[in-house]
């Protein structure tokens, strides 16, 4: 489903932020990507979204080689990938329902479909009653669940989460992770970038550890690497 071959990305002359990475992720996998600040995790996410072009190497997603995707077809690639960020990135002037619906509007989904999907998604993340609330009226955990609902409402086969629990207390962090696991069980490939050692250790999933742009370990049912 996702395949990186000898991928490097250098922002400027100097040591690359991503250095000769080889990763293969199958459909339906749940993968943690961990590593210190500055290790190159967000850069990796941006490469997958084609926000950045690799300096060298080859990235294939869903059988499509990213380098060969034309500029005007980038939106189609991105419709296959839902994204969630540490800072939620919700629209502050729109309520919960409108925020989730926004993702559907953007892909020009018809009203009948929106009316069915948005409420279904909201009840899946447990926010059905709060559909009229504005982001500032929600807790961090709730905001992140809105963001997850928004990322998934278009049914992307892949979900990328860059530090989804970075701004959350342990309880909310844990609930968010459980939600992501639930989503994975429904068939979505989930990739989570995180610093949260406890969660990673408890979840017993595949863990890829990155340091200075290199992969230093890639373990099935692993834990947060202790070498760093």
């Amino acid at each position: 489903m996702i395949d990186l071959q000898n991928v490097s990305k250098a922002y400027a002359a100097g040591t690359p932020a991503v250095n000769d990475m080889n990763i293969h992720i199958d459909e339906g996998e749940f993968v943690f990507i961990v590593g210190d600040s500055g290790a190159g995790k967000s850069t990796l996410i941006k490469l997958l979204l084609k926000e950045l072009e690799p300096t060298s190497g080859k990235i294939v997603i869903n059988g499509k080689e990213l380098k060969k995707i034309k500029r005007k077809h980038i939106p189609l690639l991105r419709r296959d990938i839902g994204v969630v960020f540490q800072d939620f990135r919700l629209l502050k002037d729109r309520n919960v329902y409108e925020n989730v619906e926004f993702a559907q509007i953007v892909v020009e989904s018809p009203k009948e479909v929106r009316k069915r999907k948005v409420p279904a998604m909201l009840s899946m993340v447990g926010l059905a009653e709060k559909y009229k609330s504005y982001p500032h009226e929600l807790s961090g955990g709730e905001q992140q669940r809105v963001a997850i609902a928004r990322a998934l409402v278009n049914d992307p086969p892949i979900l990328l989460a860059d530090e989804p629990t970075g701004n959350l207390d342990p309880k909310n962090a844990w609930e968010t992770m459980k939600l992501l696991e639930e989503i994975n069980k429904r068939g979505t490939t989930v990739i989570v970038v995180t610093h949260n050692k406890e969660v990673v250790d408890a979840m017993k999933k595949r863990v890829i550890t990155i340091r200075d742009g290199h992969i230093v370990s890639d373990e099935r049912k692993g834990g947060y690497s202790n070498e760093n």
Binding site: P75, R78, R79, V106, E108, P110
Partner: protein
């Protein structure tokens, strides 16, 4: 793009306009001024042209032939005249016709008096060509040319006012052209800035849209709507104002200068605005599109 998406983008465009009132007003104002000048210039110009044209129609050159000129020669003169670039129309006036005209003019009240000449046309040698030119500024050149032709005895012509009219028109044209170009540039600049502010305000939203797979057109259309709307409003306002002014001016001139219709006629509002209104809308819309596209190219890359 689907119809519903189109309306969504339309709505977003209007929301942008409202959020950004001050710049919207400044842009609309500049374009209004610009298109008002274009319209004013056009209205004056077409009327001058119209008057000059009707004046040119009156400015006719009469060519008389030598007594001994043969019919062949006269025909040949006509052919040579027709080959000139500035040539407009030509009419052969036979001696009989010349006499007929003369009679009508001078013996209208005394037809019997004219009968005395009935069998002895006093204008027997006064056949002529009546020529009009399509470019009156070439009149001097043309007259010189005809004077040099064999068989030509005399060329009658009147110094026309057309020359000075066209020169004056040119100066007005240059100055107006310069002002219009400057205003067009300012208009594009202001629209472009208005849109840039819109993009800046919605930066976060645009970023999210792109990550979620919005197509370029979907992201851009609202800003395009914004630009075109500003342009079109900036065209409609001056057209409305000009229409009212123009109507008043026509009425005023007709009242002030009684009988002026015979000397010079002005074009009707319909004649002027059937061209001017669509042109203004195209210019306004065009400024809007150019202004927004310039900005989006700079600030809305995927």
């Amino acid at each position: 793009m689907k119809i519903k998406t189109f309306f969504y983008c339309l709505k977003q465009g209007f929301i942008n306009l409202k959020r950004n009132k001050l710049f919207t007003l400044a842009s609309v104002g500049t374009i209004t001024a610009c298109i008002f000048l274009i319209g004013l210039f056009y209205a004056v110009l077409v009327n001058i042209q119209h008057i000059v044209k009707s004046a040119e129609g009156n400015v006719c050159i009469e060519i008389f032939f030598d007594k001994e000129a043969t019919d062949e020669q006269i025909k040949d003169i006509g052919e040579q005249i027709k080959r000139r670039a500035e040539f407009g129309t030509i009419e052969y006036i036979s001696p009989e016709q010349a006499w007929e005209n003369y009679k009508n003019q001078y013996f209208a009240e005394d037809p019997e008096l004219a009968e005395g000449f009935a069998d002895d046309n006093p204008l027997a040698d006064s056949d002529s060509y009546k020529v009009t030119l399509n470019d009156v500024s070439m009149q001097d050149v043309f007259v010189d040319f005809v004077n040099d032709l064999d068989g030509v005895r005399k060329v009658n012509y009147s110094e026309s006012t057309a020359d000075t009219l066209t020169d004056f028109g040119k100066i007005v044209g240059f100055i107006s052209g310069a002002i219009i170009i400057i205003l067009l540039a300012v208009g594009i600049f202001l629209i472009s800035n208005t849109i840039m502010i819109g993009i800046t305000v919605r930066k976060e939203e645009i970023g999210i849209m792109k990550l979620m797979g919005a197509k370029d057109m979907f992201v851009r259309a609202p800003f395009m709507v914004e630009g075109v709307t500003i342009g079109i409003i900036g065209a409609l306002i001056p057209m409305g104002v000009l229409y009212i002014i123009y109507k008043k001016v026509i009425v005023y001139i007709l009242e002030q200068f009684n009988g002026i219709e015979n000397v010079m006629t002005l074009l009707s509002t319909g004649e002027v605005f059937s061209v001017l209104l669509p042109a203004a809308l195209i210019i306004g819309g065009g400024i809007g599109i150019i202004g927004s596209v310039i900005t989006m190219r700079k600030h809305l890359r995927v």
